[in-house]
Amino acid sequence: MAYDKFNILKSTAVPLPLENVDTDQIIPARFLKATERKGFGDNLFRDWRYNSDDTPKESFVLNNSIYGGKILVGGRNFGSGSSREHAAWAVYDYGFRCVVSSFFADIFRNNCLNIGVLPVQVSAEFSEQIFNAIYDDPNTELEINLPEQTISISSTRASETFEINSYKKENLTNGFDDIDYLQNIKGEIETFAKDLII
């Protein structure tokens, strides 16, 4: 599915400093019954965000109007658990284009990259600095510069570089995905498959 190209993103951010946030929290299983990719943002963090009678939980950060923006800053080991791409869809559909954490679970990171959400892995120290800066001033902006591979905090001017492989970087900047690439090498795949034992 086509997604918005990613280049430089400057935005305020939403802090969620919990560790091991798993995909069952990002989107609980009972919302996976759809056969289309629609409306997942409404149920992002459903059980942390709403009481059982569907009233918003005041204490949860997404219900706090002080915080907002296109960047979600999570704690360590973000996105562990299930392979459900619905978690990444929910993040995207809610309006986030980037998730920052000091450590990502593998499948979640992959899923994000495949649908146009940029996972930015920072050092533990820089993650602390980001949380502190946002708590000091919720209007603090983060700037994610994909071409330069840097993330900076506007209020403190602190900055750090992040890793991404050049192939994925090119995809994100152009809004391409892997299927576009694979379609172009189908002939090579066919030749390869001829020699397989099973």
């Binding site: 798993d22 450590f103 679970a105 495949n114 299927i179």
Partner: protein, 465 residues
Amino acid sequence: MSKTLFDKVWDSHVVKSVKGGPDVFFIDRHFIHEVTSPVAFLGLKSRGLSVMYPERTFATADHNTPTINQHLPVEDPLSANQLKTLEENSKLHGISHWGLGHENNGIVHVVGPEHGITLPGATIVCGDSHTSTHGAFGAIAFGIGTSEVEMVLSTQCIMQPKPKKMRINVNGHLGNGVTPKDVALYIIAKLTTSGATGYFVEYAGDVFENMTMEGRMTVCNLSIEMGARGGMIAPDQKTYNYLEGRSQTPKGDAWDTALAYWKTLKTDDDAQFDKELTFVASDIEPMITYGTNPGMGIGISKSIPLSEALVGGEKTTYKKSLDYMGYHENEPMIGKQVDFVFVGSCTNGRIEDFRDFASIIKGKQKAENVTAWLVPGSHIVEAQIKEEGILDIITEAGFALRQPGCSACLAMNDDKVPAGKYAVSTSNRNFEGRQGPGSRTLLASPLVAAAAAVTGVVTDPRDLL
């Protein structure tokens, strides 16, 4: 150059490597189910693509199916729609489909091995993280997202950077009442849920060599819970014996050719791992979890750990977790309240798990305060339970057997644990709300589940053996 088992299988499936990027990785076997496939098929449709090798994809309905009255129409319209969509998509693209009611139906990671679709040296993916189960046969198997499901359908390939390699050795003899599930929960507790992120694990040592194929599946299944993409065990005579003659395994000359190849699938003596860990079997006791991730597990005779040593975010997260469970630091687990017992899932829903369960409950009665869901992993397991007389033992003890499916493992169907209630579960995840909004899960082996089911509280199964 010396290679590990993982290298051998991975390298032989790389169609090409992209400069500065991932490998184009060929997939031999692809499993799909009703929950993570519909959007992938929609993607194919919108791009006007077809399925490149339909014979390499296998569909089964499991995540969202009822576990009683499977002969009746599925009541929930959304679930019914997902099941219908899977059936229609499979039919349209010529994919084998074992839907609800089909004699081969069951949980995807149970039926794959049962029919010999899972083979040594194969690359296997599915839109479900516990695809790692199939690594028990010496396959590279891992979970993928829906975009990748679409890639496999349309090109039989995904784009993957090669993970790092870790070997986990467990040597010695397991004590009485200690099962493969306990070995896995023990390792996860040592490594934490992110300890193996970025790695693919090979399990080695006599504990795994002596394990049955079903036990190996339980261990590989749980690899994902320490963050690993997958885990694998070198194939041996046990593997070949298990596979020979199953409906989808190669036959005749094709079997001989395959077997000769499979025998080359072991790690060379001087091959290098990026990380290597070794544990001692006799240190492991029956395990149980007390928190909200699978890494929060302890020996059943131990008390809930103190948070003293934790700092910052770790401490907040730990306290939040205990609050959710309604537990306190330093409390013993033995004697804790149990309301539900769930035996099933792709982790522990095979015949040996039901044999274990029966060995404890035989001649006893279900505790009155406990609601028990016993859910076989497939119709074949269900039939074995009946043939071996386990059903009689279950019924005499006041339990009932349900029909196959994922059930309370992820509670997408009606098998939901109510808010605030405690469930001892043989499944794989104790995340908040995993078994129903507000549910509290204690992960354990079928033996621990059985002990809880007849005593009504957390009980050391060794006292009942």
